[in-house]
């Protein structure tokens, strides 16, 4: 949406400031709390931590343990969004105050902290979780204590809750368009599916396999394999790949295994400029560890790349680097995490209330034009409409946008025909 002058957060800020200036003469006449904010009793009927000047939200990610590597970016993005929203005057005239809890890469800890944020701290919303396991652990807590979770990671789908807004892609949004693209433009017929051994890669590969076998003409899967999390020896499977010579290597390998996989792939002489490799698990964050030279030429299917060329994104990247340092990189999930506070703000303002039930009910069709990925809208199933994009990894660790779907892709967490 480069043409929309109101799209970027920076633009929005400017507009708000202008509006604020216009409202200034009035300000002197009214008590401070009533300035821009409706009465607390009106916007908070369920005893959330909302005062006349402040609203408390939670941030719940792992800052220790194995997942800290991945979740750091999300924490940073959420803090940035909150700071920007506060700079613009907050939500319904109230500054956002956040309480950060550490899930410690441990799922019961997530559940425990989620409960603390909801029960003790009465958070009006929580931004957090990264792995499916942590989300599954907190989901009953959010449903029981009626909280609101904004979950940033692309994930396997098969879930939908009144109490969760999924700001990342569910599996079909990430997989189908990418496979169609590689089938069409690379004339790919044979696919080798790889994954780390847990639910997201397995479910995603299941959908990929169904799509390849059912909907792509003459295509087949020539291999499918899983490795324990943290596995670092891929030479055997690389030999198998050499043996089967697939048109496409479809890789959903996560975490530290990624580094080993791409380094060994390169060392084994598989040249990614000749061998098509499509991944849905490598973002700019992961490339930081893998090293651009090891993965250059691979294709990733995401909804966001740091290199996206639009005004929203430029402002976002600049603000992010200003806050967290020049060397930080922004991946797909980081961007999705950034959407969370903004979508929540828009929803609260649409509902005119912080009440969870009202926010949940108002969520469908809430839009965020300032999204770095462009424009997003919440679907009635609480997932986001967003585009699918394919990027090609470059030596400098960034992706070059190769393809994007013309329209927003509808989220379909329970895809018929893929079960």
């Amino acid at each position: 949406m480069p043409k929309d002058p109101t799209s970027g957060p920076v633009d929005q800020t400017r507009r708000r400031l202008l509006m604020g200036a216009a409202a200034l003469p009035l300000a002197g006449l009214l008590p401070k709390s009533v300035l821009a904010a409706p009465a607390t009793a009106a916007v908070n009927t369920t005893g959330l931590a909302v005062t006349d000047t402040e609203v408390t939200v939670g941030i719940l990610h792992s800052v220790t343990g194995t997942m800290a590597i991945s979740e750091t970016g999300s924490v940073q993005a959420e803090k940035l969004a909150i700071e920007q929203i506060n700079a613009m005057g907050g939500v319904l005239g109230r500054k956002i105050k956040f309480i950060q809890e550490d899930g410690a890469s441990d799922w019961p800890t997530f559940a425990e902290k989620a409960k603390k944020l909801l029960v003790n701290d009465k958070c009006a919303s929580v931004f957090g979780c990264w792995t499916s396991a942590s989300r599954k652990a907190v989901l009953p807590v959010f449903e029981q204590y009626n909280g609101m979770l904004y979950y940033p990671t692309f994930y396997e789908g098969l879930e939908q809750s009144k109490n969760v807004i999924y700001t990342g892609q569910e599996a079909t949004q990430q997989i189908i368009a990418g496979l169609d693209w590689v089938n069409k433009t690379k004339n790919a017929k044979t696919f080798y599916l790889l994954g780390s051994d847990y639910i997201w890669p397995r479910t995603s590969n299941k959908i990929a396999r169904k799509h390849i076998e059912k909907y792509l003409k003459g295509c087949k899967v020539v291999g499918e394999e899983y490795f324990p999390l943290g596995h670092t020896q891929f030479n055997s499977v690389i030999n198998k790949i050499k043996l089967t010579k697939p048109d496409v290597i479809y890789a959903i390998i996560v975490g530290g295994s990624n580094v080993a996989f791409y380094k060994q792939l390169k060392a084994a002489g598989i040249d990614l400029s000749k061998q098509t490799l499509l991944t849905i698990s490598v973002t700019e964050d992961e490339i930081d560890g893998i090293g651009g030279e090891n993965i250059a030429g691979a294709f990733a299917c995401m909804k966001y790349f740091q290199s996206l060329d639009n005004a929203n994104n430029k402002a976002f990247v600049a603000a992010f680097k200003k806050m967290w340092g020049d060397k930080t990189v922004i991946g797909d999930v980081t961007q999705a995490a950034y959407l969370g506070p903004w979508l929540w703000k828009a929803t609260v303002e649409k509902a005119g209330s912080f009440d969870i039930d009202k926010v949940a009910a108002a969520s469908p069709d809430v839009e965020f034009k300032g999204a770095p990925e462009g424009y997003v809208k919440i679907h009635p199933n609480h997932h986001l409409w967003s585009k699918t994009r394919v990027g090609k990894a470059k030596l400098d660790g960034q992706f070059e946008l190769i393809y994007e779907t013309a329209d927003l892709v509808e989220p379909d967490p329970f895809p018929k025909g893929y079960q």
């Binding site: 800052v63 220790t64 950060q100 809890e101 550490d102 410690a104 441990d106 799922w107 019961p108 800890t109 559940a111 425990e112 409960k115 603390k116 029960v119 003790n120 792995t131 499916s132 396991a133 599954k136 652990a137 989901l139 009953p140 029981q144 396997e156 098969l158 051994d197 847990y198 639910i199 397995r202 479910t203 299941k206 899983y226 324990p228 999390l229 329970f414 079960q419």
Partner: protein, 381 residues
């Protein structure tokens, strides 16, 4: 000062009774009165680890067998309970959006169309209760038989139990159609129609848990005070001497290992009930070793100390990670080192050497230690 120096005639000495009463006062009266239900539920969760820690006191402190895989049994017990609860939560009505209604959601996602055979008996609650204890105990019995009959001990045993924990984790994660994979078995709701998620239920479960805990403590005192308890200590000291006194050493080791496994399993099942899910992250190496530290902090020879140790470490973990999340690992690591270097007898040792003598002066004759005052010598091997 030393209970071991007088031949025991009764079941418990007075000081032990006092110790148990004090702990009961803390767990059954003090904590429920002062904590809100959220915190109380947390304490309940910690106390499920105490089962494991007590098992380790028996197995490691007395038996000299350091198992680094107690998570296996905690997990197995928890999974057995979770399977029952999951089946109840997956009624046809609750799961009607699935392609195959009536089976757990994760099975449906993994294209299973029927309940696997080994899930079927878990529809029965009595069966589940038996399985909670029996499955882990049997597993421990098999491992124990294979290892102790072959005289695998000490460090080797620890490393092999770790490897088994690793194997089991990979299997559970990999066989997600049958186990729920890395997410575990989640979204457990009711027990025989009784909603276990409500505050009221958590309150009741807390007391059930506490009652079981004291039952287990009593049982452990009984075992420790029996001749079997002394044979364990003897075995730890001089295994060969016990063997050449006509005892089948392996069977005693198998017994105490399986006993500790059974205790861990009870903890696991109570964990599932109180927390509402079970996942492979409790089966692995890291939680298993962490549970050893609970025991070490409490004092590896003190049954009651294990409970205090568990509570202390977990309270510290929660508080630390709420206020200084980044420092928590440093604190935990430091605790490991401090306990080993400075306080090998743990809290119980501190109590024995610093508090008990003063109490003894105070109460003149009554001040016997509630915890066994056997000096901590290193486990054999």
């Amino acid at each position: 000062m030393n209970p071991e120096t007088t031949p025991r005639t009764g079941f418990l000495t007075r000081s032990q009774l006092v110790g148990i009463a004090l702990l009961a006062l803390l767990i059954v009266v003090l904590l429920p009165l002062t904590l809100d239900i959220f915190r109380l539920n947390l304490v309940g969760k910690y106390l499920t680890y105490a089962f494991v820690a007590i098992g380790l006191v028996m197995c490691w402190g007395y038996g000299g067998i350091l198992s680094l895989g107690q998570g296996i049994f905690f997990g197995l017990g928890g999974y057995c309970m979770a399977m029952f609860l999951k089946l109840e939560a997956s009624s046809v009505e609750n799961t009607k959006i699935q392609s195959t209604p009536g089976i757990p959601d994760f099975m449906d996602w993994n294209q299973l169309t029927a309940l696997p055979w080994f899930w079927k008996p878990f529809a029965s609650f009595p069966f589940t209760l038996v399985a909670v204890i029996l499955v882990p105990t049997l597993f421990a019995f098999i491992i124990g038989t294979a290892m102790f009959r072959r005289r695998v001990g000490g460090v080797y045993f620890g490393i092999i139990t770790q490897a088994i924990a690793a194997i089991l984790t990979i299997l559970i994660i990999g066989q997600q159609g049958y186990t729920g994979g890395i997410n575990g078995i989640t979204d457990l709701r009711t027990l025989h129609g009784w909603d276990i998620r409500t505050d009221h239920a958590k309150f009741i479960l807390y007391f059930v848990n506490a009652a079981l805990l004291f039952g287990v403590i009593g049982l452990c005192f009984l075992v420790r005070q029996s001749k079997l308890g002394r044979i364990l200590v003897a075995m730890r000291d001089k295994e060969d001497r016990v063997r050449f006194s006509g005892y089948d050493v392996a069977s005693f080791k198998i017994f105490v290992f399986a006993f500790a496994a059974a205790l861990s399993a009870i903890g696991g099942a109570m964990f599932t009930l109180q927390v509402g899910f079970m996942s492979p992250s409790f089966v692995g190496i890291v939680p298993s070793v962490e549970m050893v530290i609970y025991t070490a902090v409490g004092g590896r020879l003190s049954i009651l100390g294990a409970v205090y140790g568990t509570l202390l470490v977990n309270f510290a973990k929660t508080t630390f990670s709420e206020s200084f999340p980044e420092l928590w690992l440093l604190g935990l690591g430091g605790l490991f080192i401090a306990v080993v270097l400075a306080f090998p007898a743990g809290l119980a040792g501190i109590y024995d050497s610093h508090i008990a003598p003063r109490l003894a002066k105070w109460f003149s004759r009554k001040g016997r230690t509630p915890t066994p005052a056997m000096p901590v010598s290193t486990p054999a091997e």
